[in-house]
């Protein structure tokens, strides 16, 4: 059912991309689309190149990445700990798992005005919203991973005299690790998206802040260049996290 991606498919993908770029170029020729709404590709790529070569974006990039790292660390530690505690008893899993899943279905971005109130316009509110959003996939996957370890493994380890720590380290953790890692990957990615969203809504610095202030100044070409940069960042983060997940998975097997 899944044929190998041949050269022809690659060519088609390339063709689709060229088609999009071509449509963009033709659509923005003078007299078509208002350049305020969609600037032509030339200036956008020129601005993007400037963005990469001069260092004006580094402070904003650092703000966003710093918020992301802190949010992910807090969410990972809190989520794994709470997930572990809950997964210790099957009863607690049945009590808390649906509760957490229910809360997860509420769009957490709604809490953002509240966080702005609590933590201010700076990094604090972004870290808080990123943490809130990343916490749920981590805790839910930790519970799912640890609670669904094959009972036969646990019984075997116990009958061979494993203590609590050995049981956790050599049986539970390797068995649950892939699921927990998936939760961490999801958490990392949606935390980054939430932080960008938070910065867009209101902020003092960061990638989202740059894009919004450029949009408000009608600097369309520069705004697009910044959007391209942010999208590229998201892809890099996506790739890094997926790579780490694959490595971690292999490391434990």
């Amino acid at each position: 059912m899944r044929p190998q991606l041949g050269i022809s498919q690659r060519l088609i993908q390339l063709g689709v991309l060229i088609l999009i770029l071509g449509a963009w170029y033709i659509g923005t020729l003078p007299g078509h689309i208002n350049p305020l709404l969609l600037p032509p590709p030339g200036p956008v790529f020129k601005d993007f190149w400037q963005l990469l070569t001069n260092s004006s974006i580094w402070p904003d990039l650092w703000v966003t990445v710093h918020e992301w790292i802190v949010a992910v660390l807090i969410a990972a530690v809190a989520g794994c700990c709470l997930g572990y505690v809950i997964s210790r008893s099957a009863y607690a899993v049945r009590v808390f798992d649906p509760l957490l899943a229910g809360i997860y279905s509420i769009p957490a971005i709604l809490l953002y005005p509240l966080y702005l109130l609590f933590f201010g316009l700076g990094s604090g509110s972004k870290i808080a919203i990123g943490t809130t959003i990343a916490f749920f996939p981590v805790v839910l996957n930790t519970i799912a991973g640890l609670a669904n370890v094959d009972k036969a493994y646990i019984r075997a380890a116990q009958s061979m005299g494993a203590n609590d720590f050995q049981l956790f380290w050599s049986v539970m953790l390797p068995a649950a690790f892939p699921v927990v890692l998936t939760g961490l990957r999801l958490g990392c990615i949606i935390a980054f998206l939430a932080i960008l969203g938070g910065e867009t809504i209101s902020s003092l610095a960061g990638l989202g802040h740059r894009i919004v202030s450029l949009a408000e100044n009608m600097e369309s070409a520069q705004m697009f260049a910044n959007i391209v940069f942010a999208v590229l960042m998201a892809f890099i983060i996506n790739g890094l996290v997926s790579f780490a997940e694959a490595r971690g998975r292999r490391g434990f097997q």
Binding site: Q13, P107, I109, R155, A234
Partner: protein, 264 residues
């Protein structure tokens, strides 16, 4: 704590005190009580209020015609965006997923778009669609359409080619093939897609409303936060949370119902 507590011991040996459902309610109640006590003793009333005050505020919020109107606006935006996201996602998903050629060429592009942080293009939506409901609907659609496309493609993927060939050889036309073979086959994943799409649409609409708006729940959430009236803010957030949970549960129930119907 012995190691044995990790395993799930048969319930009869360790008889639970109450059913998980009641324990869950008790846990919620306990957390609310903790919040109530904490807020009454320590919190600054400008920033945090006890839940009892939020419940009190709920009454006058729901009585206020302006806020009722805002809730209606948001529900209208979410419903429109959801309907558009589902129909567009279904159409694109079928067009892309039914042919190997388009699946290999276009699906990667769609997955790439799905992975882009859409919050960054929010200002663009406002530039194009203005600050009215149109921008919120468009942004909601752009969030919701991708999960629908991806699950539709996944749903058509494991369609058995024999079924299609049999239908074709018996002279079924395109519409008949769709209604009697493709659609029943993809129903479980379709409803999963609807649920994911609903969550995404809600997120998109709220993001856009929080960013810039003149009406809707997002606008009032911002207004209450900026005017330091936490009881109103918490009441409004709980209204929206209730809407989100209800929509999510509806989709889940539909998902379970149609899955059983599909298997039966």
């Amino acid at each position: 704590m012995t190691a044995a507590t990790i395993t799930s011991i048969p319930q009869s040996r360790r008889g639970p005190i109450m059913s998980p459902g009641w324990a869950r309610l008790l846990a919620i109640f306990f957390l609310l009580a903790l919040w109530e006590i904490g807020a009454r003793l320590y919190a600054d009333p400008l920033f945090l209020c006890p839940p009892s005050q939020a419940v009190g505020a709920l009454q006058h919020i729901l009585a206020d015609p302006k806020i009722r109107n805002a809730i209606e606006v948001t529900i209208f935006e979410v419903a429109t965006a959801f309907a558009m996201a589902v129909s567009m996602g279904l159409a694109i998903g079928l067009a892309v997923g039914l042919h190997g050629f388009t699946k290999q060429s276009i699906l990667p592009v769609i997955l790439m778009l799905y992975a882009t942080p859409q919050a960054t293009i929010l200002p663009l939506f406002v530039l194009i669609f203005g600050i009215g409901p149109a921008a919120k609907i468009a942004f909601g659609v752009s969030h919701g359409v991708f999960p629908v496309i991806v699950t539709t493609v996944a749903g058509v993927q494991n369609l058995r080619p024999q079924l299609l060939r049999a239908a074709h050889s018996m002279g079924a036309n395109r519409w008949q093939v769709f209604t009697s073979i493709i659609f029943p086959h993809m129903i479980p994943s379709f409803f999963t897609g609807m649920r994911l799409g609903m969550t995404a649409v809600l997120l998109g609409v709220l993001l856009a409303e929080l960013y810039v708006s003149t009406a809707g729940i997002g606008f009032y959430t911002r207004l209450f936060a900026e005017s330091f009236s936490p009881p109103d803010l918490f009441a409004l957030i709980s209204v929206l949370a209730a809407i989100a949970v209800t929509l999510n549960e509806l989709c889940r129930i539909a998902e379970r119902h149609f899955r059983r119907w599909n298997e039966g």
